[in-house]
């Protein structure tokens, strides 16, 4: 059994068993570099775990649920979450566990460890995987060390790592992970040195902070920076910064705290020490015959080398890959807290104010020229907020993911999405809207006369209590007549809304949330019990952040929809004027500008939202069982209602299964009527999944071609536990024909 090797045992042949990072350290140890006490856990140990725990095929089954290229980033995150949970839940086979326990206790007695990933794939690809896999520092106690080894193994399957392997064409089936176990040297000064500045080959760069290197590597602590002449070995400059924080060991890892004042006034390195570090980098470069990026730390005036890797000058092909983008979707808690302040205090009030100001304008009194300019202005305003949505709101969703990971690490639940129970039942705008719809519905149900008038399509008395409530509702949430976020399809009146109210009125059972209240309070208590002292406060803050992130996940589109509704109302007015003149057969040159602006608008909007999808399967192929992602637990059966264009919603009947490309906020109007949700777009955190969870509906997301494979009227079973949709009986009327009950 060669599960653990020491640096002195490593030969050239072992490189693929311990990965490049570990191999480099072994060479440096052999050459006499001062490195911390180190052992290498080979890929054989990883394989013993995944094979012994029956994980190998489970991982591959998870990764092969559907074609990788069909999976969205969110689905890949879900996939990675499920795999990570498998690694956390599975027992390490006894022989391996006993072996690890014995080695750790005998070799690292009383020490805290750094546990680092060392993936052989990195060597195979010739590229750095920095940032894709996990490493941990200051881990204490044998059982915690073994748990963190699991997490490093699991990080082989992190979302970013999966995407990146796909990007550079590595075979995920053959991926393995080695681990570096290294004594934590609690240096009081740490940093990195580039033996050659990637931007200027005549220079050496040193960056240094007080405390552990984690602060610098994670970008949380700003470093002092020295530039040296590479040939002359002389100092060229020293950029001193305001030193405020340092990262120090804590009971359960590391923490960032305020830097003592006497240290904040002193540079972490003297000029002599900077030259010593420069010399260390030269030696590493000489050994590996290439410029090196070296991490180091100083403890009790002894300089330790932590790791060394070649500096990779990015080739054009490397710079074009999407790794930076994948990594940018992962945000730190601090980053998200700052983003929350911006969103809650600036962006949402800004959106609300904009929508209100636009709504207050009476565009009917505008001249044709003024109206054309107004449509252009509103288009720009709308575009600005759409861009803001992508730039600020989408990354904010990572708050939910961060919390999910912390919850799963602490609780190791059977259901990797149990954490969602702590986030649901929060105050969401869509739920408030659906509650108002319930109020309107009960009025319709109780007033037979009103019911009959709505059914007959008679005009509404706006002075009545019902009329007033409808107006307030429309003012706040729109009238369901226009699609939001990209559609141009509009109905002419409030009939779609009334059709839904009538359907709800005759099906009272549909209105009550089907959700069985989960004991979120007990879950929260159990979760918080896993943390003590300052860590509990951090866990609470993270939960609060996740709740805000979750709430916004649904609300942001509604705020955006209100602005878009104002753009659409201006376009509607413009179209009305043009059409009125054309009906009269007259020509008015002033209308040319309006016509042109309407054309621009229709051209620029996303017609995919309203087009009928082409059926690429042909009539001779029919789906029987489709696999997606389980996004809302439960099982239900009903007739499918496929929403291809926005106005299909008005035909939605009680207890039907909503099948759509992606649930937009307006579609959530019909959720109280639905028996289940099926969505092409995948992921646990998309609107459809979130709203389905709120109502306790079975939900399956990520079914490729859902709206072209499933027909309205098909008998469909939604298995929200397994993520499977079964079509038990086809609607024989054929594609494209409307299904009416």
């Amino acid at each position: 059994m060669n599960w653990i090797l020491s640096p002195s045992q490593i030969s050239r042949d072992d490189r693929n068993r311990i990965g490049g990072k570990a191999y480099t350290l072994s060479l440096m140890a052999r050459e006499g570099f001062k490195i911390p006490e180190t052992l290498f856990l080979t890929v054989d140990a990883y394989n013993a775990f995944v094979n012994g725990a029956g994980l190998r095929e489970r991982i591959l089954l998870e990764l092969n649920r559907k074609r990788f290229k069909d999976m969205r980033w969110e689905e890949i995150w879900d996939c990675a979450t499920r795999i990570r949970n498998m690694f956390l839940k599975k027992q390490i086979p006894d022989p391996l566990k006993s072996y690890l326990t014995e080695k750790i206790q005998s070799h690292f007695s009383g020490m805290t460890l750094a546990i680092r990933s060392s993936a052989p794939d990195e060597d195979a690809s010739g590229s750095s995987f920095a940032g894709l896999h996990e490493s941990f520092v200051n881990v204490r106690g044998t059982s915690s060390i073994i748990d963190h080894i699991r997490l490093v193994w699991a990080s082989l399957w992190s979302d970013a790592a999966l995407l990146y392997r796909q990007e550079i064409g590595l075979d995920v089936d053959k991926s393995e992970m080695a681990v570096v176990l290294q004594e934590t040297v609690t240096g009081n000064r740490s940093g990195v040195v580039f033996s050659q500045n990637p931007n200027d080959e005549t220079q050496v760069i040193i960056e240094s902070v007080y405390g552990l290197n984690q602060g610098l590597v994670d970008g949380m602590v700003e470093p002092d920076r020295w530039v040296l002449d590479r040939d002359k070995k002389t100092m060229l400059s020293h950029k001193s910064v305001q030193r405020k924080h340092w990262m120090i060991p804590s009971e359960h890892g590391v923490e960032m705290v305020a830097l003592p004042e006497d240290l904040s006034r002193r540079s972490p390195l003297s000029s002599e020490e900077a030259l010593d570090i420069c010399e260390l980098a030269y030696q590493a470069e000489a050994l590996f015959k290439a410029p090196q990026d070296v991490e180091w730390t100083i403890k009790n005036d002894t300089l330790y080398l932590l790791q060394s890797r070649p500096i990779t000058t990015l080739s054009p092909s490397e710079t074009e890959d999407k790794r930076a983008w994948y990594l940018s979707l992962h945000r730190s808690v601090e980053n998200l807290i700052a983003l929350r302040t911006t969103i809650e205090e600036t962006l949402i009030p800004g959106m609300t104010k904009t929508a209100k100001e636009l709504a207050e304008q009476d565009i009917t009194v505008f001249s044709d020229k003024e109206l054309a300019d107004e449509v252009r202005r509103r288009w720009k305003i709308n575009q600005h907020w759409v861009n803001t949505y992508w730039k600020e709101f989408i990354p904010y969703a990572h708050g939910i993911r961060l919390f999910g990971q912390t919850y799963n690490d602490a609780m190791r639940p059977d259901d990797p999405y149990e954490f969602m129970n702590l986030l649901t039942q929060t105050k969401m705008v869509s739920l408030e809207r659906n509650r108002l719809m319930e109020d309107l519905t009960s009025m319709v149900r109780q007033d037979r006369q009103l019911f009959e008038r709505l059914k007959a399509g008679e005009p509404l008395n706006l002075d009545s209590e019902f009329g007033e409530m409808v107006n307030q509702f429309i003012e706040k949430f729109g009238d369901l007549s226009c699609a939001v976020t990209g559609g141009t399809e509009c109905a002419t009146d409030t009939r779609p809304l009334f059709k839904l109210l009538l359907e709800m009125a005759v099906n009272p059972s549909s209105l009550a949330s089907r959700k069985k209240p989960k004991d979120a309070r007990t879950l929260e208590k159990n979760f918080l019990c896993c943390f003590e002292g300052s860590k509990r406060k951090e866990a609470l803050d993270l939960l609060d952040l996740a709740r805000s992130s979750y709430r916004l996940r649904d609300d942001d589109n509604i705020y955006l929809g209100r602005i878009e509704a104002q753009l659409l109302s201006a376009v509607k007015e413009a179209k009305f004027r043009v059409e009125s003149f054309e009906r009269r057969g007259t020509h008015k040159s002033e209308l040319d500008d309006l016509k042109s602006v309407i054309q621009d608008f229709d051209y620029g909007t996303d017609h995919r939202k309203v087009s009928i999808e082409k059926n690429e399967y042909g009539s001779m192929v029919s789906p029987r069982q489709l696999v997606g992602q389980p996004a809302g637990p439960g099982l239900s059966r009903g007739k499918a209602r496929v929403i291809r264009q926005h106005l299909d919603l008005q035909d939605f009947k009680n207890a039907e299964i909503l099948v759509c490309d992606s649930v937009d906020p307006n579609m959530t109007f019909v959720i109280p009527l639905a028996a289940g949700v099926v969505e092409r777009r995948g992921g646990m955190l998309i609107h459809g999944a979130i709203i389905a969870r709120e109502y306790g509906l079975p939900c399956v997301t990520g079914i490729p071609d859902a709206t072209s494979l499933i027909r309205s009227g098909d008998d469909v079973t939604v298995d929200g536990f397994l993520g499977i949709v079964t079509i038990s009986q086809r609607n024989k009327m054929g594609f494209g024909q409307a299904f009416q009950k």
Binding site: E57, L60, L61, R65, K66, Y617, G618, S622, Q625
Partner: protein, 150 residues
Amino acid sequence: MTHYEDIKNQIRELFINQKLAVLSTHHSGQPYTSLVAFVGKEDLKEIFFVTPRTTRKFENLSADSRVAILINSSMNMDSDFHEAVSVTALGNAKEINGAEKDEILSLYLTKHPYLEEFATSPTCSLVGVTITTYVMVKNFQHVMELHIDQ
């Protein structure tokens, strides 16, 4: 390539790479399965196998010609769960005689040359199954149906 053609090609691939299929028949409602060496037509409309007339499967077929045939690419490995493709063909069986028999037997023996003595024995019957539907399972649980226009 359309999805339709794609599915057809995957079935053709199974026809080429797999030698054996599981034939399902029944006797008075009691299901019965047998392993048969098969050959399939390029157009996927028919599947053929040879069986002695004294067998239980032949007796069952004589009473009810409806059959299901399972062809799959599993290799008795863990990886089958994500890699294997499986197809169930539904159809009606009939005994092949007359002029077309020689042509089909030749097709059959090209795939299974070692079965010449068995296939040409006067006690054996060449059975053709006219397929109406293929049910294809991939990725563990993804199921699509292909309907064959006869």
